[in-house]
């Protein structure tokens, strides 16, 4: 189908977004054409600003518009606990929970034996430096419960153990609201292993 160039460029841009196929891209592009010019300008500015003004916190690696980030600057947070996650999105998920009051460290990835991604390829060296400089008592390893996440957690715990800092791994278990009978064997056995007294 033929579109005037400005529209086909806009459609191309939308298809670069995750989960957006050609049909949705066309729909979005035509929606933009019908928007008020001010709204379109604001939208365009937000896109550019998000890209330009956000950097990675030089301490924890989280995305931020000020360095260090607001979490690292917050002195009311527990300085003795660091929660290690793979992705900035994980920090946001943890913060939504509002129950964790320590600090974070974002690895920007995970060790992947299958892809040849080693500890040097993710934000591990910075974490080790932090442990030397800051008074950390506990490291919570909140990487994903898959091979890469497990490998990453194991690696970090092996590395840190000799220093005497407590390393803990978040529990694996049944999803809240799920049914026991539909759980797979691996999840169930992990859940059983992580049982606790009531």
């Amino acid at each position: 189908m033929y579109y005037p160039e400005p529209i086909s460029k806009l459609i191309d841009s939308f298809t670069k977004l995750p989960g957006i196929g050609p049909k949705t891209a066309v729909r979005l592009a035509f929606f933009v054409l019908n928007m008020k010019e001010d709204d379109v300008l604001e939208f365009a500015n937000s896109l550019v600003n998000a890209k330009r003004e956000l950097t990675h916190c030089s301490t924890c690696g989280h995305i931020t518009d000020q360095d260090p980030c607001s979490i690292c600057q917050d002195t009311s947070r527990d300085q003795s606990i660091i929660c290690v996650v793979q992705d900035p999105k994980d920090v946001i998920a943890m913060e939504k929970m509002k129950e964790f009051h320590g600090k974070y460290h974002v690895l920007h990835g995970a060790i992947s034996p299958m892809d040849g991604i080693g500890p040097e390829d993710i934000n591990v060296p910075d974490l080790i430096n932090r442990l030397k400089d800051e008074e950390v008592e506990e490291l919570i390893l909140a990487t994903n419960p898959n091979i890469e996440g497990e490998a990453t957690a194991m690696y970090i715990s092996r590395l840190v153990k000799p220093s005497g800092i407590r390393t803990t791994r978040i529990a694996h278990g049944l999803p809240v609201g799920g049914d026991l009978e539909y759980a797979d064997e691996v999840t169930l056995s992990k859940a059983l292993e992580g049982r606790r007294d009531l």
Partner: protein
């Protein structure tokens, strides 16, 4: 056609936001890839069964294009491998080599059994260098570049002492050893070990003890041989080298 296939998951790739493409090695049809719809969602029953190293029974809708996994039941999860970073690294290497050196839908009972036995070995033992090399040597045959180990690769003779020549693709006898100045000296024991590794089942060799320095020599020899003939870059090998330092 819906088929019941037992196999070991070699690798998975994300497909879109929620699906996975799973590559499986089976006894019945060899290596194949199939899509597992929804398997990336944490609540999906397919999430656990479609992880690398899982041995399971899959119900697969086999098609000429992309096949579809309808369901899977875990038979053996090789859990102690995934809970040990060194074992994970070795298993990743074994599995990646299998994926790279075998063709789609080309069943091979012997390779399948050796793959499974090697995984079981890694699961149970800490010393995994020798079984890894044994499996590699057998896979080289699958890749079409098995070294000649039962006789001189030049004259077919059998006069010791032997050397191993990368360029000639196997051992050279006493008379032919001058053909390759860079050939590696092999004691009679090592020449014999290589021959056994390449042909005998892991189950039959069992706990064979090989001195550390001989293990290292064999390792270097296989690495150099693979670099020369193998062709595919093995990503997990880099990781294996890094992780060796943790031991």
């Amino acid at each position: 056609m819906l088929e019941k296939i037992k196999g070991l998951v070699l690798k998975t790739q994300d497909y879109g936001e929620t699906h996975k493409i799973v590559t499986i090695y089976s006894k019945k049809i060899g290596k194949f890839s199939a899509i597992a719809r929804g398997a990336k969602k944490t609540k999906s029953r397919m999430a656990a069964v479609t992880q690398p190293f899982i041995y399971a029974e899959f119900f697969v809708y086999i098609q000429t294009g992309l096949s579809t996994i309808q369901q899977g039941e875990i038979i053996h999860s090789f859990r102690s491998i995934r809970e040990d970073i060194i074992k994970t690294a070795y298993a990743a290497y074994i599995v990646e080599l299998t994926d790279k050196l075998s063709d789609d839908k080309d069943p091979d009972t012997f390779i399948f059994e050796q793959l499974f036995e090697t995984m079981k070995w890694i699961e149970k033992n800490d010393d995994v260098n020798i079984p890894t090399m044994m499996y590699e040597l057998k896979l080289y045959g699958k890749g079409g570049f098995a070294p000649t180990l039962d006789r001189c690769s030049n004259c077919g003779g059998n006069t010791p002492p032997f050397v191993f020549s990368i360029a000639e693709g196997g051992i050279l006898c006493h008379h032919c050893r001058s053909m390759d100045r860079e050939a590696i000296q092999l004691s009679e024991l090592l020449a014999k070990l290589l021959r056994i590794f390449a042909t005998v089942n892991l189950q039959r060799v069992g706990n064979i003890s090989v001195k550390k320095e001989n293990q290292q020599l064999l390792r270097q020899l296989l690495d150099a041989y693979y670099d020369y003939y193998g062709g595919y870059y093995i990503k997990s090998k880099k990781f294996l080298k890094q992780i060796d330092l943790l031991k």
